[in-house]
């Protein structure tokens, strides 16, 4: 009987983790460049202690396996802001944080800081194709960004955005909402377009998330019922069997 409760408990904690990921997706439904995630599970086999039905030697517990990221393109939101860019296709912008680490993102909310550097709205510096920060002076008016990431102003070409593509996007570590880190060396993107004046929204589909939430809730509830029944069985057996006289 112990197995029953522990298997049920592994299921409940798995459902809680699944719910955490779903609620993170819903919370980031309007975050630029966010990619929805799903938890995947695997079973974990343990030896069955004591007697069981004939042929059954193992008990299946549920265990986390990993997170699957949805790499679908998010929808484009035109903003008409010349410093907003959306990436179409597979690839990332290269950025650098205050510690000097090279990170990657799909969020194209670009701004110019007090030192005339091109930064993300969250403060990281945007790097060009050689890994250097991009400087946009106040004299550079009429910023135009072409499809291959070149930045032009009325005075001429300023720099080219550092665009990176990776073979293994699933294993990139996510820091914060839309920033990723990886050890894999970046390669040139094959079919990436930079669209000025738009932002890529998150690719979270509210209908899928609500359906997933309903599934998680009902699954949790049914296993809860099962645990309640087991509890009641135990109550009764202790009550009856321990009765003396």
């Amino acid at each position: 009987m112990d197995n029953l409760l522990y298997v049920a408990m592994s299921h409940q904690s798995a459902m809680q983790r699944r719910m955490d990921v779903v609620s993170n997706n819903i919370a980031n439904m309007n975050t630029t460049g966010f990619r929805g995630e799903r938890v995947t599970f695997r079973h974990h086999l343990e030896e069955l202690e004591g007697d069981g039905p004939k042929g059954m030697t193992n008990v299946n517990f549920t265990l986390d396996y990993g997170i699957l990221r949805n790499l679908e393109q998010g929808s484009f939101m035109p903003t008409n802001n010349p410093l907003d860019v959306a990436l179409e296709g597979s690839g990332f912008l290269t950025i650098e944080n205050d510690l000097g680490e090279t990170l990657y993102t799909r969020s194209g909310h670009l701004r110019i800081n007090a030192e005339s550097e091109l930064i993300l709205a969250s403060g990281q510096r945007v790097l060009d194709e050689n890994g250097n920060p991009i400087t946009i002076d106040p004299e550079d008016t009429n910023i135009k960004i072409t499809k291959d990431g070149r930045i032009f102003s009325d005075l001429g070409e300023i720099a080219r955005l550092g665009l990176a593509a990776f073979n293994d996007e699933q294993n990139m570590e996510r820091l914060g909402a839309a920033i990723y880190r990886t050890d894999e060396p970046p390669k040139d993107p094959q079919d990436l377009n930079v669209l000025q004046g738009s932002l890529e929204g998150s690719n979270v589909n509210s209908i899928s998330e609500i359906t997933e939430m309903i599934n998680v809730m009902r699954s949790y509830q049914s296993v809860q019922r099962q645990m309640d029944s087991v509890q009641e069985l135990r109550d009764r057996s202790i009550d009856r069997l321990a009765r003396v006289g």
Binding site: I207, S208, I214, R218, Q221
Partner: protein, 261 residues
Amino acid sequence: MKALSTAATGMQAQQLNVEVISNNIANMNTTAFKRRRAEFQDLLYQTVQRVGANSSDAGTTVPSGIQVGLGVRASGIYRITDQGSLENTGNQFDLAINGPGFFRIQLPDGSDGFTRAGSFQVDQDGQLVTPEGYQVQPGINIPPEAIDVTINQQGEVQVQLEGQVAPQVVGQLELAIFANEAGLEAVGQNLLLETQASGPANIAIPDTEGYGQVLQGFVEGSNVNAVSEITNLITAQRAYELNSRVIQTADEMLNATNQLR
């Protein structure tokens, strides 16, 4: 419960339907815009009992079997290419195509784009260009001293110069048709690109067999019908609500299952 995910596919399909309708309505006043329609097909079937399987040793067969459908998917969003209404603008470089055909435009990267939006202008060198400055092919050059420009239905461009009685021909417009017009790829800015699905462009003079006429001083409006778009919008919204009702019901039924003692 399968009904939960089946209804979710229904809601996503109706959401796509509304997105197509909203694009149509947003482009109701775009020159030569062709409305699009989303087409759906049923998704998959789970066979519980195969149709025509043997039901007894005597060789009797099951007449209809048991197959459970699993939802809907979008099978295509295609353009409806009927002619838009012609509006008289009186502008000498506004051209409308009455009948099949596309104008050929040279894009900045050298490739050809095709469009029916003929609201052209003349740039600083006298070349006939689109509002973005892309050249109309074959290049038509209007001399600056031209008093009047006439473009006839066969696409011949004639200019009237001062002191001359007869107008001079300065160029000939061409139209392109395709084996599969619906296979052209839209890239925005009223431009379409040739693809493998559309077939190669067949170029000829307007008003020949199978090609439309060029009308000067007119623009072709969009072919979006406001009434049918609003009706489709209402139908899509109702279908979306009904699907959400199914999800709620499936949820309640699951709840009832869990309440069993």
